[in-house]
Amino acid sequence: MTALSPEAWTAIALSFRIAAVSTLVSLPVAIAVAFALSRGTFRGRTLVEGLVQLPLVLPPVVTGYVLLLLFGRRGPIGGFLESAFGVVLAFRWTGAVLAAAVMAFPLMVRAIRLSMEAVDVRLERAAGTLGAGPLATFALVTLPLSLPGILVGATLAFAKALGEFGATITFVSNIPGETRTIAAAIYTATQTPDGDGEAMALTLVAVLIGLSALVVSEWIARRAPGGGR
């Protein structure tokens, strides 16, 4: 481990931050979308589903281009964000968070939705008869009973965020300390004729972080209410 350069350590810290933030930030959105898709019967449902699934179907580089076009400074959304809120994503780690979140989104939504659809609707109805409105029923019944899917979704998203690089580098480039993640560093190393050593060391680190996330999520799942069924 001492073999790792300070730059590598920076990349590791950054990767961890980006993965954690993107997972946490996208989780509520993913939960909302999963709920809408599993219970809603609105028009254009299939469209939303397809849209959510898109980043999975496309090569990551393409997703990166699309993000660039939409969220770049001159992009319609990016321009608006900058002028309205002063939020800049381009070349910032926040942009990497967006890229990771978008790439992991299909995995998250699918896992959560799977668990939500397995929740017995009769329990939700029972909550209703006890006076719980739709929101309270969601918060007290649907959400906790979907915990397994939420945990799996979060773990998948975190892992994916660690490994994501195609969309990230295309969207926010590969700036050390700002957007250079472990994945980008590994990629760069592999593209250097004598970079195998560094690539291996970094890969090991990525694997360790990924495994830790897994262990933590399993631990939460076991300890959670209703976990040990």
């Binding site: 009769r122 329990l123 109805r125 029972a126 209703g128 008869t129 006890l130 006076g131 719980a132």
Partner: protein, 360 residues
């Protein structure tokens, strides 16, 4: 209090039912698959009827013609489901308190302590539903519905999984709810005795239709329906509690036709009381027998004798004072004694055959 008039189809089954329930307990009675749970679901707002109207007092819950469908969480209707449906991720305590959180503070009339005590679930409060026995689950489900302080209680065979002792402990709780808080109850049960003794009104469903509605003693007469089961025949007599016979632990109920002895002391002299007597627990005698352990003998006149091809006959006796008591006896006994309308008879009822715990 509750008025239901709905039509609803699910699969091949078609429910078309109209009835009204009063302030007390309205029993839904009928064979398996006759639509009882469906009615519960419609009133609770779990199912939207194809058409119809459901009102609770002044409050319209459903009116398809007017496009009204109050969402279930605004109905304040407590439901004890046929398969308990406890929240698996909550402890028993949290399950019990769930509805309370949502009840308006002013209406939180039911407290945890007494409910837990009566249901005998104090030791279970920290447990998860998955670790409960069948009867324990059902008791927690009853408690959960009660704790929401509902304005109407819907109970779908709440006591089926319970032993008699436990059942007899829970019934007074239900009755207290009805009386103290004036909560009307819609009560599904297969147990004739339970229905006969609890209900103010019985609605008999059969294949989705209302086959009969009325007071228990009217409806449960075999001539009036209920699949002709003689064990379902019961009469309700109204009397006044007298001075307890402390030495023997018996309570006399004064009735114009004689004294009805109840096993056990009920210290409420002067209170009006309804006594439910099963037809099969009544014997008739043309002269008052001596030297028999039967303590209760009520005088009356045979009103009607109904016989058919079967071995049994029902004899309606108009007791002195006006109540009608129906006895189920063998046809042979009717012939042997030559019983006929107009005969004076003594109706013999064993004190021990009456369950004082069911009396009100």
């Amino acid at each position: 209090m509750i008025a239901v008039d709905v039509a609803h189809a699910q699969g091949d089954f078609r429910l078309e039912a109209a009835f009204a329930g009063g302030a007390g307990i309205t029993a839904l009675f009928g064979p398996s698959g006759s639509g009882k749970s469906t009615v519960i679901g419609l009133v609770a707002g779990l199912v939207r009827p194809d058409r119809g109207r459901i009102a609770l007092g002044e409050r319209v819950l459903v009116d398809t013609a007017a496009g009204i469908h109050v969402p279930r969480h605004r109905r304040r209707v407590g439901v004890v489901f046929q398969d308990s449906l406890l929240f698996p991720h909550f402890s028993v305590r949290s399950n019990l308190l769930f509805g309370r959180w949502f009840a308006p503070p002013a209406e939180r009339r039911v407290e945890l302590g007494p409910v837990v005590d009566t249901l005998g679930i104090g030791a279970l409060l920290g447990r998860r539903p998955a670790t409960l026995s069948g009867g324990e689950r059902q008791r927690v489900a009853i408690g959960r519905a009660l704790m929401a302080s509902p304005r109407l209680l819907l109970m779908d065979e709440p006591l089926a999984a319970l032993d008699l002792e436990r059942r007899l402990e829970i019934l007074p709780l239900i009755e207290r709810l009805r009386d103290e808080f004036a909560i009307p109850i819609l009560y599904v049960s297969h147990a004739v005795e339970e229905v006969a003794r609890l209900a103010d009104r019985v609605v008999v469903l059969d294949r989705g239709r209302v086959a009969a509605v009325g007071a228990p003693d009217d409806v449960l007469k075999p001539s009036r329906g209920v699949a002709g089961d003689r064990f379902a025949v019961a009469s309700v007599l109204t009397g006044r509690i007298g001075e307890v016979d402390a030495a023997y632990g018996l309570t006399p109920v004064r009735h114009p036709a004689g004294t009805i002895w109840l096993s056990g002391a009920i210290d409420a002299p002067g209170r009006a009381v309804r006594v439910v007597v099963r037809g099969t627990d009544v014997a008739l005698a043309t002269s008052l027998p001596r030297n028999v352990t039967i303590r209760t003998a009520l005088a009356g006149t045979v009103d009607a004798v109904a016989t058919g091809a079967g071995p049994n006959a029902t004899v309606d006796v108009r007791l002195d004072g006006g109540d009608v008591l129906t006895a189920v006896v063998t046809r042979k006994a009717v012939d042997d004694l030559g019983l006929d309308a107009g005969d004076r008879v003594h109706a013999l009822v064993k004190a021990v055959a009456l369950d004082e715990r069911f009396q009100v």
